[in-house]
């Protein structure tokens, strides 16, 4: 009964979202307030219906309802509750449901918080979101119904892939989707603006919080996925330039460009066409990722549902939304004349440079990801494009981007001179140069990590210099505190975001100095790595909730003094007939000690030992970036986006 209710709620949501699209478009077109006013309640209705459907699916997972095909394929009664819950979205059908749930949440948020928007703009944005929701609900109902029953019910489910049974991964998809789907809102704003034929400062102010929120969530989602790969897959790597990882990086890059160019629209009413294009592009890249993962056109560790029939439907949705968006863009964008003019060397100019470089990196990643597929299709050649290409091709683009990142915020709007800005950064440059030389001196001829340390310090100290400059910390230190309180949170957020990238680069540079070794140890034997001694005490059997494991006990000492006892597992999941390795990691602020237990042979256990300097900083930096985004989001300017008259009215009502 409950699954049928969920199925019914999905159909209801489809009908409601179609209605939402119709009243929004028609109402805005005819300027009928009653029609337009119906869009927000409909968006709330869609949210409630999809929320109910999602709850029904989750309920089926929690009670392990084996008459539901989706549960049978992806769950098992012996699974811990957390993974029963996260199993709801650990598969194609459930994750699509999560996708539309988050889309409905975005629609609900536009309906609830968008009362300050001009009603035609709000109605059109909701209409576009309704169209997207209707298309994806139709896709789910037609090809991927999560509530499909099977009869007779099997005794128990087949279990969730053990690699996915992990707390980090439980939250990776929801965060990632919050990012992907968040760009649907900026897309809807762009389409609404194209229909209206008008982009102004107010539009930029409304788009920017959405771009910021989506980008911050995407940052967290990507970081969580990368962290999970680092500790769960047991390779000690954190980024593999896998096509699906690239698919998440593309909207991140486009989104980063968007949230910077939206500033220019807001402050200076320039770069309008470009910003609209980026808003279309960011969502297009999100959809492209969905297509690549779910259609089976490429193979990847993330392969979801390899079904060409589904692929055709997703491709049609892609054609409708990306093609439709770009068609509208080609037709209407010419009408958006820029009003603000600026010299090449100015804050605007720096943001244009940022956009060009970010988009170039995105283009490189896109080409590298799609090239093997198109080479196979057109030339019949099997090639793989791997990390060497991506590293060598993105580095020359990232270097000027990082260089400009510290400089840009110091430049004034409209017209700037380079010398004063550079003068304020001289100590930052010295610090970066010092880090470069120090690393070369300590680590020998390792140019890559040395450049990384220099870039990291340039960004972190550059952000500090920006804040110090705004506070007039050195010229008038006494007023600094009051100036700090008066400084808009957006400025703090920007500095924090830039510094966060610096922290991540610090981690990447540290990982460039990582060392590892493979050792076959019998109990009592030891191996040395990076000044630490790893002694294998013994290997024993352990019983978990739905797995059995061999667990090694490794005593780590440094100069004879005990550091930590590490216990890596090799887990066997009988239901899925799979073995996973659980690496154990000892984290200090300076380095990770990372031990993986391999196979056992002739009484000896094979241990893989890693010493990863500064590894945790990679993900810490991402958290700082997202925090910067959040701080910027809480800026007064974002909250008070409405014309004063309308605010006063709201105040009177309250």
């Amino acid at each position: 009964m409950i699954p049928e209710l969920g199925h019914f709620a999905l159909i209801l949501a489809l009908a409601l979202s179609l209605a939402q699209a119709a009243v929004g478009l028609l109402g805005a077109q005819r300027a009928e307030a009653r029609l337009m006013g119906a869009a927000p309640p409909l968006a709330t209705g869609v949210l409630l219906a999809i929320g109910a459907a999602f709850a029904c699916l989750m309920w089926s997972y929690v009670v392990n309802d084996t008459t539901v095909a989706n549960v049978v394929q992806n769950s098992h009664s012996a699974k811990p509750l957390l993974y029963k819950l996260s199993g709801t979205w650990g598969n194609h059908e459930g994750s699509m449901l999560l996708w539309v749930l988050i889309l409905a949440l975005c629609g609900g948020a536009v309906a609830a918080f968008g009362r300050n928007l001009p009603s035609a703009l709000q109605a059109r944005v909701l209409a576009v979101l309704g169209l997207v929701a209707a298309a994806f609900l139709g896709f789910i109902l037609a090809t991927s119904n999560p509530f499909q029953r099977i009869w007779p019910p099997p005794m128990d489910g087949q279990g969730l892939n053990p690699i996915l049974q992990d707390p980090g991964l439980a939250f990776h998809p929801p965060l990632l989707y919050l990012g992907y789907v968040g760009f649907a809102v900026t897309y809807a704003f762009a389409v609404a603006a194209l229909i209206e034929g008008r982009v102004d400062a107010a539009w930029g102010r409304w788009v920017r919080p959405w771009a910021l929120a989506a980008w911050s969530f995407l940052t967290l989602g990507i970081a969580l996925g990368s962290w999970w790969a680092y500790y769960e897959l047991g390779w000690g790597g954190y980024w593999f330039w896998d096509p699906v990882e690239n698919a998440s990086l593309l909207p991140w890059l486009a989104g980063a460009a968007l949230l910077h160019s939206a500033i220019v629209v807001e402050k200076r009413e320039a770069l309008k066409t470009w910003t609209v294009f980026l808003a279309l592009l960011a969502f297009g890249m999100s959809l492209l990722g969905t297509f690549l993962v779910r259609s089976g056109v490429l193979t990847s560790v993330h392969a979801f549902a390899n079904d060409p029939a589904r692929g055709i439907v997703i491709l049609c949705l892609l054609a409708a939304f990306i093609g439709g968006g770009f068609l509208l863009f080609a037709w209407r964008a010419a009408s958006m004349a820029p009003t603000g003019v600026f010299a090449p060397l100015s804050r605007e100019g720096a943001l244009v440079l940022n956009n060009l470089l970010l988009c170039s990196i995105a283009a490189v990643v896109l080409v590298g990801t799609l090239y093997p597929m198109f080479a196979d299709l057109l030339l019949g050649e099997k090639i793989s494009v791997g990390p060497p290409f991506f590293n060598t091709a993105t580095l020359p683009l990232a270097a000027p981007l990082i260089g400009a990142m510290a400089l840009g915020p110091l430049l004034p709007w409209k017209r700037a001179r380079l010398a004063p800005a550079l003068l304020r950064l001289w100590w930052v440059a010295l610090l970066a140069l010092g880090a470069f030389l120090l690393c070369l001196a300590l680590e020998g001829q390792r140019i890559g990590p040395a450049l990384g340390f220099a870039a990291a310090l340039w960004l972190i100290a550059g952000a500090a210099a920006d804040i110090a400059d705004r506070l007039a910390l050195f010229s008038r230190p006494r007023a600094a505190w009051s100036r700090a309180r008066g400084l808009p949170r957006a400025a703090w957020g920007a500095a924090l975001g830039h510094a966060g990238l610096g922290v991540t680069i610090l981690g990447l540079a540290g990982m460039g100095l990582a060392t590892d070794r493979l050792a076959a140890l019998k109990p009592g034997e030891a191996a040395a790595l990076a000044g630490y001694e790893f002694r294998l005490e013994g290997v024993r059997d352990v019983q978990g909730p739905n797995w059995t494991a061999r667990r090694a006990t490794v005593q780590v000492t440094r100069d004879g003094a005990p550091v930590v006892v590490l216990e890596p597992d090799r887990r066997t999941f009988p239901v899925a007939r799979m073995t996973t390795t659980e690496a154990t990691i000892h984290t200090t602020w300076l380095a990770d000690l990372y031990v993986v237990l391999g196979e056992e042979r002739d009484g000896a256990a094979i241990l893989r030992l890693h010493h990863n300097p500064l590894a945790p900083w990679i993900w810490l930096g991402a958290a700082v970036m997202a925090l910067g985004g959040g701080l910027s989001l809480s800026d007064r300017r974002m909250r008070v986006a409405a014309p004063a008259a309308k605010l006063a009215m709201k105040g009177a009502r309250a």
Partner: protein, 212 residues
């Protein structure tokens, strides 16, 4: 659409009056570029999806170096309890000659989920009289036996490759994987991944007829 109408409104004096037509056409071409790129990519993706259906595009299909060559020499012991003889390169040659027929060599394992998906198609081929030689890859003999007892045994001959050495000689990509050897003893086709009903109808059966 909104009241602005079909023709784009003037640029509001952004361009000098004289250069306007050229500048505007260049600009509108530029604005069309994203649509063009997206359309080209879309056409490519459509071709890929079509190719996935017919088998002409396969992202997992790593070309085998053995196509057009004789299989490597090998001899594998039988699976205890399966009541089938073991497999060797000589068995493949035994099907040679004018009265011979093409043979399928299938690598499988009890721990492999796609093998379960593929199994009904193998059973169907066996019922149609296609000689199937099975190789149990990196699997405990009792597990392989249990797998075949549960799902049926389509194989005429069955070898055990527990260390996976023969698989290395064949250049195995993963299990399941299937090779077609014609009656001259030459490898004609390799399929990495499960044989689904689509693969069977679109690829394997035409090939079996062609090399029969």
């Amino acid at each position: 659409m909104s009241g602005a109408g079909a023709s784009p409104p003037p640029d509001g004096g952004a361009w000098p009056a004289k250069a306007a037509p050229r500048g505007r056409s260049r600009r509108s071409l530029l604005l069309l570029a994203p649509l063009g790129v997206a359309a080209a990519a879309g056409a490519g993706f459509y071709a890929m999806l079509r190719g996935l259906g017919t088998g002409s595009y396969n992202p997992r299909g790593v070309p085998s170096a053995l196509i057009g060559k004789a299989p490597p020499d090998f001899a594998l012991p039988p699976l205890e309890g399966a009541e089938r003889p073991g497999v060797s390169a000589a068995d493949l040659r035994a099907h040679n000659g004018p009265l011979g027929r093409p043979v399928l060599v299938n690598f499988f394992a009890s721990w492999c989920v796609p093998c379960v998906i593929e199994h009904p198609q193998l059973m169907r081929l066996a019922r149609e009289g296609v000689p199937l030689l099975g190789i149990a890859y990196k699997d405990k003999p009792e597990d392989s036996l249990g797998f075949l007892r549960r799902h049926g045994n389509p194989f005429a001959k069955l070898g055990v490759d527990q260390p996976g050495r023969v698989a290395i000689d064949w250049g195995l990509y993963g299990v399941p994987e299937t090779y077609l050897i014609d009656k001259e003893g030459i490898i004609r086709w390799r399929w990495a991944g499960p044989i689904t009903n689509d693969t069977l109808g679109a690829e394997l059966q035409p090939l079996l007829r062609r090399y029969a």
